[in-house]
Assembly symmetry: C2
C-alpha cells in the first residue's frame, strides 16, 4: 500500500496526500478503525515532507475520515468506509426516456453532423470570427464591474435579469423604434432559451405554428419538441411570399408565427420595409401573434435601415421580440432577451425561475459594462467592415465557380445556394468532404422532410479569405462533375 | 425640434447625437428625404463640437438612416421612417397561457413571499454570506483563464460543458468514492436546470415520485410542473423514516425518488451512513432510480464523513447525482452538474442543447480555474469555520428563546423548528414581521397542502451575530405570546 501515490497536479502537496488517503478509505483499502501509518512513516514512504503529511492528516480529521487517539496516532473513522458495491443494480435508461427525450436525440444535429477534421475548410459555422474579439475590453468590463459590486455579482440575482442590463436593453430597443409602453423584458440564456420558454408557455389551441420555409433549424427542432405542427411559407427575393402566407392564414388557425426578418437563416435575406408593413397587417387581420427573431439585425452593413417587426406593431402587444448579441459579439456569453407584453413577461419570468433560477450574473454584468463602456459601436464598425469584405469575396467566388440556379444573402455571415430541382447537395457534400471542404446541406432548414435537397448554406464568418477562394472552387468543380 | 437633446450617459457624445437623431426619424418627427440641419447648424443648436456632429452623421449613414447629396448635405433615408402604429392590435396573453405557465406563476414563491424592508432581520435566505467571498481569487481565475484562451471562452462551447471543468468534476466525484465506470457528466445552469432537465426526460410510467417530507421547495415545484404526483415520507432524527418508506414502496410503483441526504433542506439533517446503506438497498429491491441532491455536501463541518448515495450504489447506474457549488461558493456563477449513467447523459445532453445550447463558458472556466488554483480547500476551511460558529450561536439562541417542540439541523446554513401541532407559524411570521423579523414558514416545504403549518426554517448564513441574537429573541417572545 501507499506505493501508487503520485503528485499529479498543481494543488498543494498536503491536499493531494489527503485526497489519496481518502480514496483508499472510501474504496475499502483501509478499514474502519485501522491505524494509519505515523506521519514520520508516511513521510518516508511517499518521499514527502513531514509537515505536509501532518497537514494532510489534519485535513482527513476535518473531513471526518480519521480520528486521533492521543499519544497513539491517527485511525480511520468508522462511518467513512465501505460502499455496498456488491449488489449493483443496472437499469435500462433508454427504456425510461419519454418521447420528447427520444426526439431531442433524433433531432440533435450535433450528433449527426459531419465533423471537420483538422485542415478541413469548413463553411458550416455562422459563429463570429474570434479574431475580431476585443478581449481587452471584455477584461476591462469584468474588472470594472467586479470592483463596483463583485459581492453582488457572485451571489444570487433575479430571474428577470440583471437590472442595469435590462434598463440598457430597454433603451436599446427604444432606439430601434419599439414602443415600450406596457412592455417588459426578460433576460435569458441566449435566443434559444428565450424561444424555448415562450413555446413552453403558449397554449396549443390549434397546435400549429406558421413560419418561413426554410428557417432556423433550432427553431424547427424546438417547435417539434413542443409538439407544434409547422406550416412553412416559401421565400421570395425580399422575404416571405405574402400571397402564399395569406392563403395559409385563411385556411387554418395558428397559435403563433415565427419570423426571422433580418439576414434570415439560412437564406440571408433581409425582408424589405414594405413587406414588413404588409406582413404585420396580415398577422393583425388574422390575429396571429408573432415571435420575431432579431437574429443578426445589428450586422446590417449595406442597404438602408429597417425597423424590427415589433416597431411596426407600434402600441400593439402581439409581437414577442427575441434578441441576442451572440452572433454579433460573443456567443460564449449566454445572454439573450425577450421583449414583450408585460403580462406575458410575468408568466415567462416564473417559468425562467423554475427552469434555472436566473441567467449568469457575470455574463450579464460583463455584457452590460462592455456596452456601457461604449464598445459596441466600435466593435460593430470593425465587424461590419470585416464581414462585408468577406461577404463580397465569398459571393464573388460563388458567382465565379458554383453553377447555382439561385444565390441569396444580403450580408450577415452566410450565403444560401440553390441548384436546380433534382440536384442533391448531400451527394455534393460527400464529394467535397473527400477533398477537405464541408458546408451545411440545406434540407435541415426546411419544415418538411425531403424539401430543399438541392440547397446549401455557406457560412463564411470563420473561414480565411484564401480558404474561401479554394473551398468555393472545390465545391464548384465537384458540383459541375456531379451534373456530368 | 432639437431642443430636447440632453447628454445622458458615458457614451461618446457623437453616438448620443446619432441615437437622438435616429429616434426622431423612427418616431416620425423627421420625414423621409427631409434635409437634416447642416453639421455647423446642429453644432450650434446642440452646443456640441462640430466634429462630434460630423461623426454622428457618418454613423447615421452607416446605419442606413441618412444619405448624403454631394455638395448639398445630409438627408433622411426613405425606408427608415414610419411605424404602422395606428391599428394596434392588443391580445389577452393570459388567455393564451397553458396550464403549466399558469401553475408556474401560482407556485412562484418569489411572487408571493414577504419582502424584507430595509432594516429587517431576515432569516429567509440560505444563500452564502458574501462577506466570505474571496473576490481577488475569482478575479485572478478570470484573468488567468482569459489569458490562456480568451478567444475560445467567448465563442460557442459544447452542450455537455467545458472540458477541463468536466474532467475536474469527474476527479472530484471519484474522490468522493463514486465509481465512474459507465458514467458521464453534464454541466448545467446550477442544480435547478439539472433537475428540470432530468424530469423533462423521464417517462411517466407511473406518474409518481417519492421523496422526503418536508423537502426542497423548488424540487416540489418542478415535480408538480412536470405533472408528477408526490409521495412524501416523514423525516426522523437521522434522515428519512425507512419503515414508512418501505410501506409506500410496497403499495405503489414510482418512476423515481428524490433525496437530499446532506443538510437536508429544510430540516438540516444529515442522513446517517447506516441509513444511506439501508435506503439504497430498499431502492434497489423496489427498483426505483434515485435523484440525489448533493446540496451542501461540501459544508459538513462536524461529524464524520458520509459518502453520497451514488458511492453506495457502486457500479450500479440507478443514481443520478446533481451537484452544485452554489451554496458553498458563488450562486452567481450558474454552474451545476449531473453525474449519471453514460446513456442517460447522452439523452440529457441533447435536451440541454435544445434548451439553451450550453452553460456560460465564462462561468464554467472561472469556476474551473478557481478550483484548479487550489482555492476551494482554503475557502471551505474559512467558510466552515464561520458557518459553524454561526450555526452554534443560532442554535444556542433558539434553545434559549424559542419554545419549540423540536429543533433540527446538523450544520449547514439553516435550522428547522417545529412547534406543537396546531401552532401556526404564518401567524407567528405576521407578528414577527411587524417587529422587523422574518423567516420562512415551513408549510412551503411540505408535499401536501396544509402540512407543516407548525414549522419554520431559520436561515442564518447572511445574518450578523448580533442580529441573530436579537431576531431569535423576538421570534421566541412572539411565539410565547401567541400561545398565550
Amino acid at each position: 500500500m501507499f506505493n501508487d501515490f503520485q503528485l499529479m497536479d498543481d494543488r498543494p502537496v498536503s491536499i493531494q496526500v489527503k485526497e489519496y488517503v481518502k480514496r483508499l478509505i472510501i474504496k475499502g483499502a483501509l478499514q474502519a478503525n485501522q491505524k494509519l501509518p505515523s506521519t514520520r512513516e508516511l513521510s518516508t514512504l511517499l518521499g514527502i515532507s513531514r509537515n505536509s503529511i501532518i497537514s494532510a492528516y489534519e485535513g482527513l480529521e476535518d473531513d471526518g475520515f480519521a480520528y486521533t487517539v492521543h499519544g497513539r496516532g491517527s485511525y480511520v473513522a468508522a462511518a467513512s468506509t465501505g460502499a455496498a458495491a456488491s449488489s449493483a443494480w443496472r437499469l435500462d435508461w433508454g427504456a425510461r426516456m419519454n418521447e420528447r427525450a427520444q426526439m431531442a436525440v433524433e433531432l440533435d444535429l450535433m450528433k449527426r453532423g459531419i465533423r471537420a477534421e483538422k485542415g478541413t475548410i469548413s463553411f458550416t459555422s455562422i459563429a463570429p470570427d474570434e479574431k475580431l474579439f476585443d478581449l481587452d475590453n471584455v477584461k476591462r468590463a469584468f474588472m470594472d464591474r467586479m470592483s463596483v459590486e463583485g459581492n453582488v455579482l457572485l451571489n444570487y440575482g433575479y430571474a428577470k435579469g440583471y437590472k442595469p442590463l435590462i434598463d440598457y436593453l430597454l433603451r436599446y430597443m427604444d432606439h430601434k423604434g419599439v414602443d415600450l409602453k406596457g412592455k417588459d423584458l426578460l433576460i435569458t440564456n441566449g435566443f434559444t432559451e428565450g424561444f424555448d420558454i415562450v413555446l413552453s408557455a403558449l397554449s396549443k389551441k390549434n397546435g400549429s405554428v406558421i413560419c418561413e420555409n426554410p428557417t432556423h433549424n433550432t427553431a424547427i427542432k424546438n417547435l417539434k419538441l413542443h409538439g407544434f405542427e409547422i406550416t412553412g411559407i416559401a421565400m421570395e427575393r425580399d422575404g416571405i411570399n405574402l400571397q402564399e402566407l395569406e392563403q395559409a392564414l385563411s385556411e387554418k388557425a395558428f397559435d403563433c408565427a415565427y419570423f426571422v426578418p433580418s439576414y434570415h437563416n439560412p437564406t440571408g435575406i433581409v425582408m424589405s420595409p414594405e413587406k414588413r408593413q404588409r406582413l404585420m397587417q396580415l398577422m393583425m387581420r388574422y390575429q396571429v401573434p408573432v415571435i420575431e427573431d432579431g437574429f443578426n439585425e445589428e450586422l446590417r452593413y449595406s442597404g438602408s435601415h429597417v425597423s424590427p417587426l415589433m416597431a411596426t406593431a407600434g402600441q400593439g402587444n402581439s409581437v414577442i421580440y427575441l434578441g441576442s448579441f451572440s452572433k454579433v459579439l460573443f456567443p460564449g456569453l449566454r445572454v439573450g432577451w425577450v421583449l414583450a407584453d408585460r403580462e406575458l413577461i410575468d408568466y415567462l419570468e416564473s417559468i425562467k425561475r423554475a427552469r434555472s433560477i436566473h441567467t449568469s450574473t457575470l455574463d450579464q454584468s460583463i455584457l452590460y459594462q462592455y456596452l456601457y463602456n461604449g464598445n459596441l459601436e466600435k466593435y460593430l464598425k470593425k465587424a461590419r467592415t470585416e464581414y462585408k469584405r468577406k461577404y463580397e469575396w465569398t459571393k464573388q467566388c460563388c458567382e465565379a465557380h458554383i453553377p447555382f440556379e439561385q444565390l441569396s444573402g444580403d450580408g450577415g455571415l452566410h450565403l444560401f445556394v440553390a441548384f436546380e430541382e433534382g440536384f442533391d447537395t448531400r451527394a455534393l457534400l460527400e464529394a467535397c468532404s473527400r477533398q477537405g471542404v464541408i458546408f451545411t446541406p440545406g434540407d435541415i432548414f426546411f419544415t418538411k422532410d425531403g424539401q430543399g435537397r438541392n440547397t446549401m448554406r455557406i457560412g463564411f464568418s470563420r473561414v480565411a479569405d484564401e480558404e474561401i477562394g479554394r473551398g468555393i472552387r472545390i465545391i464548384g468543380e465537384a458540383a459541375k462533375q456531379l451534373r456530368g
